[in-house]
């Protein structure tokens, strides 16, 4: 906190790390559910109608969802250029792999509907594999970030765990999104998936939460610092309760008149928010853990001010028309057609 008081004028980097955090969180939730849908795609021959419905549920949104990633990386690039270079140089190969994954799934989505019937299955596989590559590499990168870009065996094992954990979490939010957007037999199926993915994600979150403070002394001090500990431990506690509540709720779904089918998705989004605040709390004000603070990495004030004015005007508009788009496509997913 001293830095803020000492640099009283330097509130801009704080605002920008907030904006970036918002972009990453919104990305994780929104692209999270459509990546999750990709991972969950059943590949049996008889599952084609199910695949169509599942993909239809994300059709109007995936493009805008990915834009949040561009915004997040963009803010990192704009506001904290040296951190952008440092992080991306460390993560060179996983970033390239993730981009190939994103490219594969993005185009597969469009090709599957337009290609010849005999190629549709190939594109569906591409979609699934692309989604999986994306989530695994994102999880691996999160692990590397937490570990401070260390390539020892224990670190790599942690990154593997993180890759699986993030993939489980994306499947979880993808499945709960489908609970909201599907009906009938498919809904029963996705409720089962959501249930399993939820437990896997919980396992991932618990192991990351235990290992993170153990390997990072700074993180440990921050969390277990009396009297703050009484307050901040609420985050994992509420998060845990969210998992349990969702687990019980999913067991009781589907209910009559499709009651409470939207609830699991919103609870999962809340869990994502809590986990994300946990990570943010662990490392703030470092943007590269242990190496670079947001003040050291920030761009010139003049440039930050110029972009902030635009951001404050435009972001509410973005949220507004995003809400409008979700309103237009509310309700259960139906066959996607262009007319």
């Amino acid at each position: 906190m001293n830095e803020i008081i000492n640099n009283g004028s330097d509130w801009l980097p704080v605002v920008f790390i907030g904006l970036m955090g918002l972009a990453v969180l919104v990305y994780a939730i929104l692209d999270g559910y459509d990546l999750g849908v990709g991972i969950l795609l059943p590949m049996g021959e008889q599952d084609e109608p199910e695949r169509d419905t599942m993909i239809a549920s994300i059709g109007p949104f995936w493009d805008a969802n990915e834009t949040w990633l561009v915004l997040a990386v963009g803010i990192l690039l704009i506001a904290f250029p040296s951190a952008h270079s440092l992080i991306l140089m460390h993560l060179y190969i996983p970033v390239a792999l993730m981009l190939v994954g994103l490219i594969m799934r993005g185009v597969a989505f469009d090709f599957r509907a337009k290609a010849a019937v005999d190629h549709k299955l190939t594109w569906d596989r591409t979609f699934k594999i692309g989604s999986l590559i994306t989530t695994l590499t994102q999880g691996y990168m999160l692990g590397q970030y937490v570990m401070g870009f260390d390539y020892s065996v224990p670190s790599l094992l942690f990154c593997l765990l993180s890759a699986l954990g993030v993939t489980a979490a994306y499947s979880y939010i993808g499945a709960t999104w489908l609970v909201l957007k599907t009906e009938g037999e498919l809904q029963t199926r996705v409720i089962r998936w959501a249930h399993r993915a939820g437990r896997a994600a919980l396992l991932g979150v618990i192991s990351v939460s235990i290992i993170n403070p153990l390997v990072n002394p700074g993180v440990f001090d921050r969390w277990f610092n009396y009297p703050l500990v009484m307050f901040v431990l609420l985050i994992p506690a509420v998060c845990f309760l969210g998992f349990i509540f969702n687990d019980i709720l999913l067991k009781r779904l589907p209910k009559d008149n499709d009651r409470h089918s939207a609830l699991p998705f919103f609870i999962t989004s809340a869990i994502f928010t809590l986990c994300f605040s946990g990570i943010g709390f662990s490392f703030y004000p470092y943007i590269v853990p242990g190496e670079l603070t947001i003040w050291e990495a920030a761009s010139a004030r003049n440039s930050l001010q110029f972009i902030l004015v635009g951001a404050l005007i435009v972001i509410p508009m973005i949220l507004l028309y995003t809400a409008f788009s979700y309103h237009v496509f509310r309700g259960k997913a139906t066959q996607l057609d262009y007319h």
């Binding site: 140089m89 060179y92 190969i93 090709f111 435009v314």
Partner: protein, 462 residues
């Protein structure tokens, strides 16, 4: 073994070349779609809706390729060119930021409604969504070309401790080459999209499509191309004059002027030779280059000798420029001939339609050649006079870059094949599938090859 600098340059060139192909189509194609939709709203003629429906699918596919290949770009700066953001991040950052904020979200969000929302929102809201996507794509071009032009002709900044700081954002955005480059690129997009539309429509007609929609689309494309091509020649010339003023070494390389010359010839053909610093086999029209660039047959053109070790490689510039201009002239002749046929003969011959199919991607060739000229022409600088390309590159090992480059190239090859293959599939499907065309074709202006329909010349389309 190639070094990291060269590999990174190849990778950046590969990524940006692959990426630019798709926005070049979608920027203008979206405006054409807005036009189709507006015509439908005003005339209620279902044929416009059918034209819209086919092309919106092509648009969706092309747009998706543009989006995913564009995401790669936002990571490139950090992964391969850290020196770029460290030196000019204070300028480049906000411009890129405004592109994401004002353009990307606008187009991506309204795209959902444009593609899939036609039954869910009133027709006016749908047309508005298409318009927002078109505005978004154009805004995106505005910001990225502002940044690119600033890298070519930087103004409105000051250097403090080797880092660029903004002084005037108006001067940064509206830097000397920006208005020319933006107009040139938007027109290039218009030409690329119109030849794309003409080519695929001609393909459908050749494959036996008797419907009216492809003929309408073809006619729209031809007229747009016929109008834009001469404007492009004019704007291109103005852009050249602007470059002559601010980046004379680029012009010298484009024209193959090794030594400063009064009354330089316009070389039609030559093989620039970097070793002897002269041109082999040169054939030129005397004094024409001077006349074009200085409006004086004896005007002085600075030669490459004035810029020792500070000018771009000559051969790619020289040939790139000629390929671009050549394609431009070809497009102009093609569009005007087509319009003449439509006007005088009311129909287009099979030979001409086949020629249009061959010209489907003519815009891509010209656009890429033009971009290579302007980007190679900036070398050895990444930002003219501020940052050399070699100083911006990442220190990571060449093996890593080679691996990522191989990954990208493989992906792009597969995607390009899939894209063209799928376009062909879609065109063929549209020939036979009747859902697009529920009513009988009826006379609507002078359309090419409409079977057994009396052509009415009074009701034009454009």
């Amino acid at each position: 073994m190639l070094d990291t600098l060269l590999l990174s340059r190849i990778q950046f060139a590969a990524n940006i070349s692959f990426h630019i192909l798709f926005p070049t189509i979608t920027i203008a194609l979206c405006w054409i779609l807005v036009f189709f939709k507006l015509r439908f709203d005003f005339t209620n003629d279902p044929v416009w809706m059918r034209a819209y429906r086919f092309w919106v699918k092509v648009f969706a596919l092309t747009f998706a390729l543009g989006v995913v290949s564009g995401i790669t770009m936002s990571f490139q700066f950090g992964t391969n060119w850290p020196g770029y953001m460290e030196t000019v991040g204070n300028i480049a950052g906000p411009l890129l930021g405004y592109e994401v904020l004002t353009a990307f979200f606008l187009e991506a969000t309204f795209l959902g409604i444009m593609l899939f929302g036609i039954k869910r929102v009133p027709s006016k809201v749908h047309t508005f969504s298409a318009l927002m996507v078109a505005v978004g794509t154009t805004l995106s071009a505005f910001w990225i070309l502002a940044l690119n032009s600033w890298m070519q002709t930087p103004t409105g900044h000051e250097m403090r401790d080797g880092v660029a700081h903004a002084v005037s954002w108006v001067e940064i955005i509206f830097n000397p080459s920006f208005p020319y480059r933006l107009t040139h690129m938007l027109l290039a997009s218009g030409l690329t999209a119109s030849f794309f539309v003409c080519g695929i429509s001609a393909y459908r007609i050749l494959k036996g499509d008797l419907k009216l929609a492809p003929r309408l689309a073809l006619k729209t494309g031809l007229i747009v191309a016929a109008i834009l091509a001469p404007i492009q020649a004019f704007v291109g010339d103005a852009h050249g004059l602007n470059t002559f003023k601010y980046q004379p070494q680029k012009i010298a390389a484009m024209e193959g002027v090794w030594e400063t010359e009064d009354g330089a010839p316009l070389l039609l053909f030559a093989i620039p030779n970097e070793e002897t610093r002269s041109n082999d086999f040169a054939i030129g029209i005397p004094k024409l280059a001077s006349l074009i660039l200085t409006h004086d047959p004896d005007g002085k053109i600075l030669g490459l000798n004035e810029f020792p070790n500070d000018h771009p490689p000559v051969a790619p510039m020289f040939f790139g420029f000629r390929i671009m201009v050549g394609m431009g002239i070809l497009m102009l002749i093609t569009a005007w001939t087509g319009c003449y046929f439509l006007y005088r003969k009311k129909t287009l011959s099979t030979t001409y339609l086949k020629w249009l199919v061959m010209m489907t991607f003519a815009g891509w060739v010209a656009t890429l050649a033009g971009w290579y000229v302007t980007e190679i022409g900036r070398q050895p600088w990444l930002v003219t006079g501020i940052l050399r390309t070699a100083d911006a590159v990442t220190p990571i090992a060449p093996n890593n870059v080679a691996l990522s480059l191989a990954l990208y190239l493989t992906t792009y090859t597969v995607l390009m094949w899939a894209y063209i293959h799928t376009l062909k599939r879609m065109a063929l499907k549209a020939v036979t599938v009747e859902e697009f065309e529920t009513a009988e074709p009826r006379a609507h202006g002078n359309l090419p090859n409409v079977p057994k329909v009396k052509v009415d010349t009074s009701g034009g389309v454009a």
